[in-house]
């Protein structure tokens, strides 16, 4: 299983773009109002920082995965416990993302199909790809990424005539920077999921350009998000999207060019399904491979089945759309984002590089 830097770029881009576009625009508008584009810009910067920290941390031990090097940095017991917590989190978020996706498709296309059927069939498709190894998912993302970009360009062109430049101003709301800061948190917490590269970097063949292609992947997703949020604001203003469940979906229904390019929502549903495929594929691989390493199981594909069952269970657990789209993101934003996506990787990086530095002068003597 080897990955190229190019694949890493598309993997990160596709897993960042889909769900974030769908679900974070509403909360961003809710908090930041007129300052939503600034908030999104800030969120992009924050997620780049998170990615940078995670990549730097992994490059301390370029041949090891997160599961292998964390115990080396902070010791066996503490390290293994920490890794275990991360694996649990990744399983949880994988399941929730699957559910969020199923909720959306259920609303948009299949309102009579039972939810479990949508979840199960999507999971089977993903399982099929992941079973082959992470490089299969990566190759898929090389095709999926450009398709998503194509969709976004298509929307960009078709929506040009509906844009009201005046709705963009003023860029900063009259209540100052606080709403912008809190408005950037939902998107930043989603985008910082790119911290998962701590599990991916070990598989990359040539690690020279890994940092830059990782940052580009996240950065490109951030640019796309910024474009989408500006688009939304110029079409719907800053108050209406705050009340919508899926602002981008509403826009896709709104676009109409010359009375025959209409109802573009299907492009969105397809793009969504693709990106969710990549995202859950990544989470499934990371958790099952990580679990196998953690417990010393030789065949990680056996673990994959168990992890998939867990993900399925998590996806079926929430009672309603609020739990997946409001309660869980709140938990993710307030607890996971500051601690597990920022503080812990940062501390590990600090401790790890301090250890390396302390070791280095010792070597010549020995």
């Amino acid at each position: 299983m080897k990955l190229t830097n190019y694949q890493l770029f598309w993997l990160l881009f596709s897993m960042e773009a889909g769900m974030t576009i769908m679900l974070t625009l509403g909360p961003t508008f809710q908090a930041a109002r007129q300052g939503a584009p600034l908030a999104m810009l800030l969120a992009g910067a924050v997620s780049l920082l998170a990615t940078y920290i995670a990549a730097k941390l992994s490059l301390l031990y370029p041949e090891d995965t997160f599961v292998e090097y964390v115990p080396k940095i902070i010791g066996q017991w503490l390290g293994k416990t920490l890794v275990f917590v991360y694996l649990l989190l990744w399983i949880a978020v994988g399941g929730i993302v699957l559910r969020e996706y199923a909720d959306f498709v259920h609303m948009a296309l299949f309102d009579k199909t039972p939810l479990w059927a949508i979840i199960l069939f999507m999971l089977i498709v993903i399982l099929y790809a992941v079973h082959g190894g992470i490089h299969i998912v990566a190759r898929c993302s090389e095709i999926i990424g450009p398709i998503v970009v194509f969709n976004i360009i298509l929307f960009r062109i078709f929506s040009l005539k509906d844009l009201h430049l005046d709705r963009l101003l003023p860029l900063l709301p009259s209540d100052g920077w606080m709403p912008v800061l809190s408005g950037s948190a939902p998107a930043a917490s989603y985008m910082s999921e790119s911290v998962m590269i701590v599990m991916l970097i070990a598989f990359i063949g040539n690690k020279k350009k890994t940092l830059s292609s990782g940052l580009w992947g996240v950065g490109f997703a951030a640019i796309v998000l910024l474009n989408v949020i500006i688009d939304t604001m110029m079409m719907l203003g800053s108050t209406v999207p705050a009340m919508l469940q899926y602002p981008v979906y509403s826009i896709s229904q709104y676009i109409s060019v010359m009375e025959f390019v209409q109802n573009l929502d299907i492009f969105l549903v397809v793009g969504m399904s693709f990106t969710v495929f990549v995202k859950i594929g990544l989470y499934l691989f990371m958790t099952s491979y990580g679990t196998a390493q953690l417990f010393g199981i030789r065949n990680w594909r056996r673990v994959l089945w168990a992890v998939s069952m867990l993900v399925l269970a998590v996806a079926l657990f929430p009672r309603n759309a609020d739990e997946t789209q409001v309660v869980f993101p709140l938990f993710w934003k307030n607890i996971v984002f500051p601690i597990f996506l920022f503080a812990v990787p940062f501390l590990l990086w600090m401790i790890g590089s301090a250890r390396k530095r302390m070791k280095r002068p010792v070597r010549p003597h020995a």
Binding site: L236, S250, Y254
Partner: protein, 382 residues
Amino acid sequence: MRSNLPRLLTAILLLSLLTGCWDRRELNDRLFELASGVDRLEDGKLLLIGQFMVPSTSEEGGGAKKPYLIETGVGKMVSECLLDMQLKLSRRITRGHRNNIYFGEDMAKAGIADLMDSVTRDPDSRLKSDIWVVKGGTALEFMQLSYPLESIPAIGLSKIRHIIGKTTGNSLLEILVEENVEGSGPTLPAVEILYDTKLRKKTLQVYGRAIFNRDQQLAGYLNRMESVYRLWITGETDRIPITADLPNGRGSFNTEVTLLHAKTRTAVNAGRVAIDVYLTGSGVILESQPAIDLRKPDHLREFEDIMNRRIEKDQTEVIRKVQRQFKVDVFHFGKALDRQHPQDWARLKAHWEQSFSDAEVTVHSRVKIKRIGLQGPPPNKP
């Protein structure tokens, strides 16, 4: 041999998926709603009217059958009406292609606030809808009107609006955006049913704009010229015809102004809002009655001057009418103030309706006449 059995089983299992899923949607089981209307009944209930496309009759049926069907439903809420209507229809109502919604005048007067939710909550129903108010009539009456030029009457109205220069038919979204701006008055286009006594037939005519107050109840109407003057300020139309008179009864002339542009400058002096509106555009003379040779630059300049004074006077009257009668800001002046003086806006927005009504508005028109048509003076007036 043994290892092939699971594969065979999987293949058979997968075949069962091919039959389709729970959401099988045959075109033959659908009924496309093209327009819907809402009226208020005397007892406060709603009357929902749907205009549906009748499938596959248009050509083969010999033209005797109407290509559309009208059905009604009664209920306390829109969804109740829909169910009531569905019980009369053998195909499932599909709202994805609905572009027009009509409100009867009584409905609009009673308030449209509670009607909007069902339009925007249903994933099947699109944001891209045009809502109209039927002036002096009911939606039912309007939707029963047959319109000879289009097979589906609902399309006729959208097309008219396109021709007269309104750029996009999106009054649903506009009203949603406007309702969220403090002091701003939501507006909807208005249509009326006209009985032509000379031709002895009923027909539809675009009237202008219906203005709503902050409680989303109908406050009044702007007629066609007033609404087109308003659209000039909000930047949503691309042409306006101006008729102006020469002094001393020398006759009138008509100019079509295109490339419309408007700029709003706001200022706050001692708590009073002063608004300057700058209008620009380029005109083409469509008709000129007086025997004046427009090939002489002096004459053209005089015409230009008269036309600009006319625009200023008319535009000021429209703004004043809104300030006095409706007291809601339908010109997006509040948003301009928000952009230009955010601190003042933060202070004024709570009672913007009052500040807007008291504001001193000055209109400056600088339209240039670019072309005069095929002739200087009318050739029959020596």
